[in-house]
């Protein structure tokens, strides 16, 4: 049932991505709105799948990479849909929908989750994955808004017109979304790092084992701590913040996923 729901979610996210792409090619704003609706349906199915997992007799800890990526995709999608209530972000669906699809598709293709015996028991592994994934998803939204800001900034500075394209978010909206996502994502990431350290202590008796994953994740946290200080403490400008958000997420992505795959 869970696998079926995950596959169905992937199909709906893919449909949202296709609609969003068609909106650009055919210059129809209504296709973008339809893509948002499809994304919303996908998020509902995705959420239903996670809630069904928690009703299982022995809920899986979601600590395997594919499930964590899938959860990040869900949090990112829901966060984007929530931000749509406040900001004119419809154009961004063309970026969000494909990313959501990739996250879910990767999870749907991957082997089953790691057994709870390998990760220990209790709420810590679960809390670590939920908090860190949610934090990374929001920081991903910040990075994506940063990338969109830089593209829009470049276009406006070069005075080029998006002929027939669906309405693209304003620079101000992208900057505020990036700031909001950073403000929410960084505390969640911090909690994820703390719960991760506590989880490691329950497994190995010390919060730090010196693994590559731990070292890179700590580095990523330090990078984001610096970005938060620059942005909210030192009043960094919108363009520099966008560049920082994008670079920060690229680094965090490598630290969390790339290191696991490459090192």
């Amino acid at each position: 049932m869970d696998a079926l729901l995950l596959q169905l979610t992937a199909v709906v996210y893919l449909a949202a991505g296709i609609l969003a792409g068609a909106a650009w090619v055919l210059s129809h704003a209504w296709l973008s709105r339809a893509a948002v609706v499809a994304l919303g349906v996908g998020a509902l199915l995705h959420g239903l799948m996670f809630s069904l997992l928690h009703t299982a007799e022995s809920p899986p800890p979601l600590t395997d990479g594919p499930t964590a990526v899938s959860f990040m995709a869900w949090v990112g999608t829901v966060a984007f849909l929530a931000l749509l209530w406040r900001f004119r972000l419809v154009g961004l669906v063309a970026l969000v929908a494909p990313l959501s699809f990739i996250g879910v598709f990767y999870a749907a293709l991957s082997p089953a989750a790691i057994s709870s015996a390998e990760v220990g028991t209790g709420g810590l592994p679960h809390a670590h994955v939920l908090l860190a994934s949610a934090g990374l998803a929001l920081l991903g939204i910040a990075g994506m808004a940063g990338a969109a800001f830089l593209a829009e900034y470049r276009r406006l500075k070069r005075k080029r017109h998006l002929v027939g394209a669906p309405p693209w978010p304003s620079l101000e909206a992208l900057d505020r979304v990036s700031a909001l996502a950073l403000a929410l994502g960084f505390p969640l990431l911090t909690l994820g790092v703390v719960t991760g350290a506590l989880w490691v202590r329950t497994l190995h008796g010390a919060p730090w084992t010196g693994s590559a994953h731990e070292a890179w994740c700590l580095l990523a946290w330090i990078v984001y701590a610096v970005l938060v200080v620059l942005r909210f403490g030192l009043g960094q400008g919108a363009r520099r913040s966008a560049q920082s958000a994008l670079a920060g997420f690229a680094f965090a992505g490598f630290a969390v996923i790339g290191v696991e795959l490459l090192l």
Binding site: F87, R88, E152, L156, K157, K159, R160, H161, V163, G164, W168, P169, S170, L171, E172, A173, R176, G235, Q236, G237, A238, R239
Partner: protein
């Protein structure tokens, strides 16, 4: 009589060239033009997007040479060379010139197709030409036809829908920088019609804080009272720029007022907040060097052209309908204009018949012994007979003259009534 038009617009010449050719007071230039032998009537249209002269002439080629020297010597900057003239100016003759005037007045040739300002600017140009005696009956008729065409197009098509002014295109662009214009501060530099339009558009977008800065404080105050804005002098610009989010400038003057130093000084207090500068002044009011400033988004009148083109694309169907109306109106004017060819023949024929009538009347009356009342009766009778006999052929000559083949009718009339013989006789008498 022939029509000739020479000009440059936003498509043919860059802003740097157009601003050098801008004419503040067209009266001296028009005076020089109509004083020359080659030009009988002239109207000069000078706006931020175009400088055009339409003239009535008897000889197209000599008038074209005269207009070339007019553009080089009598308009704006005299450094415009012969090669520049070739590259930036266009020349339209007769039917093409008529059509161009109709299209300009109807805003079909405008940077923002369907914009309402050009009609007012064309009317102003025409009024100036009439007042200084440069326009005559032919150009009067052409411009009246152009104004009627513009009105018809605005009524019968949806060409004026969408962002149809530079100001409104600028406001649309502001919404790509700012999420919500309410709560943002606008600074308008200048107090002309464009500024007034922009103010209206900005208010519609919910922008509630507006400052107007102008050289003449009275005009700024007048505008400020009408639109519930605050009025300032240009000396307050550094402080005003520090607070403004949207700056819209359209003020006269040969040097930019928004310089790099001034903007740097103003940006110091903004903590990286963006500032959107819409410069619709010609010559430009904002120095292009301010583009290097990260927070500044500067768009001048030419930069807005690409947006305008995109707007026009969306109204392609309406454009086709508008062009059809222009063709119809052009045909009507061409008919009237062609009919003017019959005027000398008709005038000549009338004069000849009238002289015959007068001669025969005198001879007849000399033989009769009539009292004054009877004389008047006989005179009225002859006049009535002549008018009735001439009415049908003259009407036919007029209507046939509107067609190219109508020239044959005029020639036959001149031959039948010996009008050319009269002219030759007149010429021998003169000799």
């Amino acid at each position: 009589m022939k029509l000739l038009l020479m000009g440059m617009n936003h498509r043919s010449a860059p802003l740097e060239v157009r601003e050098r050719m801008a004419v503040d007071d067209p009266v001296p230039a028009l005076g020089k033009l109509v004083a020359s032998d080659e030009v009988d009537e002239a109207v000069l249209i000078s706006t931020c997007n175009r400088v055009e002269v339409v003239v009535l002439t008897r000889e197209l080629e000599s008038a074209r040479h005269r207009l070339r020297s007019f553009f080089r010597r009598d308009l704006g900057d005299t450094s415009l060379g012969e090669r520049d003239l070739e590259g930036y100016c266009y020349v339209y003759r007769e039917g093409e010139a008529m059509r161009h005037v109709l299209r300009v007045a109807s805003a079909l040739d405008s940077m923002v197709v369907g914009e309402p300002q050009i009609l007012g600017q064309a009317k102003e140009a025409y009024r100036t030409a009439v007042e200084c005696g440069a326009s005559g009956p032919i150009l009067d008729r052409l411009f009246q036809r152009a104004f009627a065409t513009a009105k018809r197009i605005r009524t019968d098509t949806r060409i004026a829908e969408g962002p149809t002014s530079v100001a409104r295109v600028g406001v649309g662009l502001a919404r790509q920088i700012f999420e919500d214009l309410s709560g943002k501060r606008a600074l308008l530099i200048g107090a002309g019609e464009m500024i007034e339009l922009a103010l209206t558009a900005l208010r519609k977008e919910g922008l509630d804080s507006v400052c107007v800065a102008n050289r003449t404080a009275e005009r700024a105050a007048e505008l400020a009272v009408r639109f519930d804005a605050s009025a300032h002098g240009l000396d307050e610009l550094p402080a005003l720029l520090g607070d403004a989010d949207v700056v819209l400038t359209s003020i006269g003057g040969s040097r930019p007022i928004l310089t790099l130093d001034l903007m740097r000084q103003a940006l110091g207090s903004r903590r990286g907040r963006p500032i959107f500068v819409i410069d619709i002044g010609v010559p430009r009011n904002a120095d292009t060097a301010i583009d290097v400033l990260e927070e500044v988004f500067r768009y001048d009148i030419d930069d807005l052209a690409s947006l305008a083109t995109a707007n026009a694309e969306g109204r392609r169907h309406e454009l086709v309908r508008a062009e059809a109306i222009v063709s119809e109106e052009q045909q009507r004017f061409e008919g009237w204009f062609a009919a003017l060819r019959a005027v000398p023949t008709i005038r000549h024929l009338r004069a000849r018949v009238e002289s015959i009538r007068a001669e025969e009347l005198d001879r007849g009356l000399a033989r009769l012994d009539l009292d004054d009342r009877s004389r008047e009766g006989v005179e009225a009778l002859t006049r009535s007979l002549v008018n009735k006999i001439l009415h049908a052929p003259l009407s036919r000559l007029r209507s046939e003259a509107e067609r190219e083949e109508g020239m044959a009718y005029l020639e036959v009339a001149r031959m039948l009534f010996g009008l050319d013989d009269d002219e030759n006789a007149d010429e021998s008498d003169d000799r």
